[in-house]
Amino acid sequence: MQVSITVNGQQRTDEVEPRLLLAHYLRDVRGLRATNVGCDTTSCGACTVIVDGLTVKSCTVLAAQADGGQVTTLEGLTGPDGELHPVQAAFRAEHGLQCGFCTPGMVMAAIGVLADNPDPSDREVREGLEGNLCRCTGYHNIVRAVLAAARSGPAAGRVPQTQEVEA
């Protein structure tokens, strides 16, 4: 079947098998490898991307279900001049990553949390990230990074591509 999906502002039409998962579409068809597959069972959140403004676990969504939609991956967060998204910058400043495997999913999930609630408490950040696991268990710094991103201003909850590209 054909799917036409806008990823990070770029629309493309591809011939795919209906059973192709969005995570594999992003990695193998679109060549965007920031999105990791950790558990493959909707548990770890490493595969979190934003589809039509909402965070989803792309290991549990078919590419077919994103047909006609807008997807943002970690690659889509960085500005044209390499400028980091406020959440990325906060993860770097606060040491919100160790091995980095969970980080793309954590960053996308954190943007989702901040989009919903620009000024979350420590507890609200933890609850908002309940679907994301860090095997390095660096949760304290991750939460600190999200809180720092929130303090940096409303841009921390913004998804760049869904605003720059017309529907």
């Binding site: 909707t42 965070t55 999930a109 309940e130 679907g131």
Partner: protein, 270 residues
């Protein structure tokens, strides 16, 4: 893990969905949020040859008051139900329970109709619905019919739904300011409940205490007789048949059912 191959059909209306189910029969499965179906397809526990995607039917997504009831469209996502002002005012147990399902990413995809049709005995929202009472509205080739929630979940992943029927709506009584409680025991916040108890207006339902979600009838009868919460809750596991698994043995589940029922009833009475 990758699902076995299937044919993918996207439909734009319930009529089209029913037609696709009629055409493909038992080989076909409906796909909504996909958060119950795709995981079991990846494990090859389900191998449908046709997936009928109903997630594009946006008119199945609503929460509105109709007379004494609140009607919730089957396509309503858990995150939408969780935030619905109508639901929070008219039937607060339901949006609260929607907010306890999985994690935010899961709630962005999962739908009420999907969890109702899936009939996992450990699912949150069917437990709340069973305590609330009300009906599941289904549509098939012969039109619509209403099935009371008390007769909808018939067993382990089994429902009163025929293979060519689609869940289109769930209707629950408006409970307004009546007290309610939902108590769920998990090892990690976003897990399925090991046991859960929902209580509202003297009715109590339990998750994971049998092949399907079940009512704690002995507790309800005791409450109706005027028993105290502690006395009534001590009967919560009567007539249930919990299974044992790596999370809990039967006796522990029975203990949890009594404990969570007491807490849910205390919340409802507070």
């Amino acid at each position: 893990m990758i699902p076995a191959p299937f044919e993918y059909v996207r439909v734009r209306s319930v009529d089209e969905a029913v037609a696709a189910l009629t055409e493909h029969g038992e080989e076909a499965k409906l796909l909504a949020g996909g958060h119950s179906l795709l995981p079991i397809m990846k494990l090859r526990l389900a191998v449908p040859s046709v997936l009928v995607d109903i997630s594009g039917i946006r008119e199945l997504s609503y929460v509105r008051v109709e007379g004494d009831e609140v009607a919730v469209g089957a396509g309503t996502r858990h995150s939408e139900l969780e935030r619905s002002e109508v639901a929070r005012t008219e039937v607060p147990l339901l949006p609260h329970t929607a907010g306890r399902v999985g994690d935010p990413q899961v709630r962005h995809r999962g739908t009420l109709g999907g969890t109702v049709a899936h009939s996992d005995p450990a699912s949150d929202l069917p437990t709340a619905l069973l305590a609330l009472g009300g009906t599941v509205v289904v549509q098939g080739p012969g039109g619509r019919r209403e099935v009371p929630v008390t007769g909808f979940w018939t067993g382990f992943f089994e429902t009163a739904l025929a293979p060519d029927e689609v869940v289109v709506e769930v209707r629950v009584p408006r409970t307004g300011g009546a007290g309610w409680g939902y108590e769920k025991f998990t090892r990690r916040e976003n897990d399925w409940p090991i046991v859960a108890a929902a209580a509202v207006q003297g009715r109590v339902a339990l998750a994971n205490m049998g092949g399907s979600v079940v009512r704690a009838t002995a507790t309800e009868e005791a409450l109706a007789r005027g028993a105290s919460i502690a006395e009534a809750a001590a009967l919560a596991d009567e007539g249930t048949s919990p299974t044992a698994d790596m999370h809990a043995d039967q006796e522990y589940r029975r203990h949890l059912a009594r404990l969570l029922t007491r807490r849910a009833l205390e919340k409802a009475a507070a």
